[in-house]
């Protein structure tokens, strides 16, 4: 028997909930990893990501009877997940900073010449590198907080989760060219804040051999 589509499962949920949760459970199983992964990429913390992912599916449970299937279920779910993650980001107080030693004198000497965005994470990152990577993620969280909500949402969909423009247009219910230009503006806004907040953190991050070659400004 062919697997039921999301839309068929949603229809069943509407008829069966709350007494029978089997169709809802199937929807959860199908989408939980994707939702969790998306949320984790935004909040950069596994415990928080689980709490938020749970919140997303609780909202789905309570909202299914009102969901009218104008957009696809996954688009609806995705919108809820992105909003929950960004809401959580607003509420999360800044976590304690990882202790990152600023002992890379060579990097600091060349600070003015280094473009942080050109540095690439090393393939074999040690414990110290992991700390810096954690701080970098924390920094990206701060940049996402600074962006307008819509811009943050667009970047998450396109550059964090690699959704196609078509999928994003479907989620947001707007035209493709509008989506493209908004994402472009969001990237430029991200770059501005990133350079403002994260450049110094990233200076300490080890770079791959190809990254080193790209460190100097063009």
């Amino acid at each position: 028997m062919a697997a039921l589509t999301d839309e068929e499962l949603v229809a069943r949920c509407k008829a069966e909930l709350p007494s029978d949760t089997r169709s809802y459970e199937m929807l959860v199983q199908r989408h939980m990893n994707r939702v969790y992964s998306l949320v984790y990429r935004v909040v950069a913390n596994k415990e928080e990501a689980e709490d938020i992912a749970q919140e997303v599916f609780i909202k789905v449970y309570h909202g299914l009877h009102k969901f009218e299937q104008q957009a696809s279920f996954s688009s609806w779910l995705y919108r809820i997940a992105t909003n929950c993650a960004l809401d959580a980001l607003d509420k999360i107080k800044r976590r304690p900073k990882a202790a990152v030693p600023m002992n890379d004198s060579k990097a600091r000497e060349n600070e003015d010449e280094i473009d942080p965005l050109h540095l690439q994470p090393s393939q074999a990152a040690g414990p110290e590198d992991s700390l810096i990577l954690a701080e970098l993620r924390e920094c990206i969280c701060r940049v996402l907080k600074k962006l307008e909500r819509e811009q943050a949402r667009l970047l998450i969909m396109r550059d964090f989760d690699d959704l196609s423009y078509d999928e994003i247009a479907n989620v947001l219910q707007v035209g493709m060219s509008t989506v493209k230009m908004r994402i472009h503006r969001a990237r430029l806004a991200f770059q501005e804040f990133f350079n403002q907040f994260c450049g110094r953190v990233y200076l300490n991050f080890p770079v791959s051999s190809s990254g080193k070659a790209e460190m100097k400004k063009e």
């Binding site: 709350p18 949760t21 809802y24 459970e25 959860v28 199983q29 939980m32 990893n33 969790y36 992964s37 984790y40 990429r41 596994k46 689980e50 992912a53 749970q54 599916f57 609780i58 449970y61 473009d115 965005l117 050109h118 690439q120 994470p121 970098l136 993620r137 990206i140 970047l155 396109r158 550059d159 964090f160 989760d161 690699d162 423009y165 060219s177 493209k180 230009m181 994402i183 472009h184 990237r187 430029l188 991200f190 770059q191 990133f194 063009e218």
Partner: protein, 122 residues
């Protein structure tokens, strides 16, 4: 192609989704527009950087027991709501009794009058 037209194509240039004939035209136009070049480079950097940084989480899975914990929450909330529903019904019944009791205490005759009216009406 002028700068304004080229600016419209920058997202596709970043994502490499421009059809070949248009790509050649856009690349030619890029040499005439330094602002477009800067924007293109900045947007490309961001995309490459974020995609690379997120790649390590591509196969992230929910922690063990995620689904069980979620369903426990869902069922717990449902049971709580049912209990709330029952207790709210019980509360309303209790409130009616209390109002009747207070009414009888303030005006003990009212109950008699009410029953008398019912009797005379009958």
């Amino acid at each position: 192609m002028n700068c304004e037209e080229l600016a419209q194509l920058l997202p596709d240039l970043v994502d490499g989704t421009l059809p070949a004939p248009m790509l050649a035209e856009a690349e030619a136009a890029l040499s005439e527009c330094p602002d477009c070049r800067r924007e293109l480079e900045a947007a490309r950097q961001i995309r490459t950087f974020l995609i690379a940084l997120q790649a390590e989480n591509a196969n992230l899975r929910v922690p063990d027991g995620f689904e069980a914990r979620l369903l426990a929450q869902v069922h717990g909330q449902r049971a709580g709501l049912e209990l709330l529903d029952l207790s709210s019904k019980a509360f309303i019944m209790w409130l009616i009794e209390l109002i009747n009791l207070i009414g009888a205490f303030i005006d003990p005759d009212s109950e008699l009058r009410a029953s008398g009216t019912q009797l005379s009406g009958a």
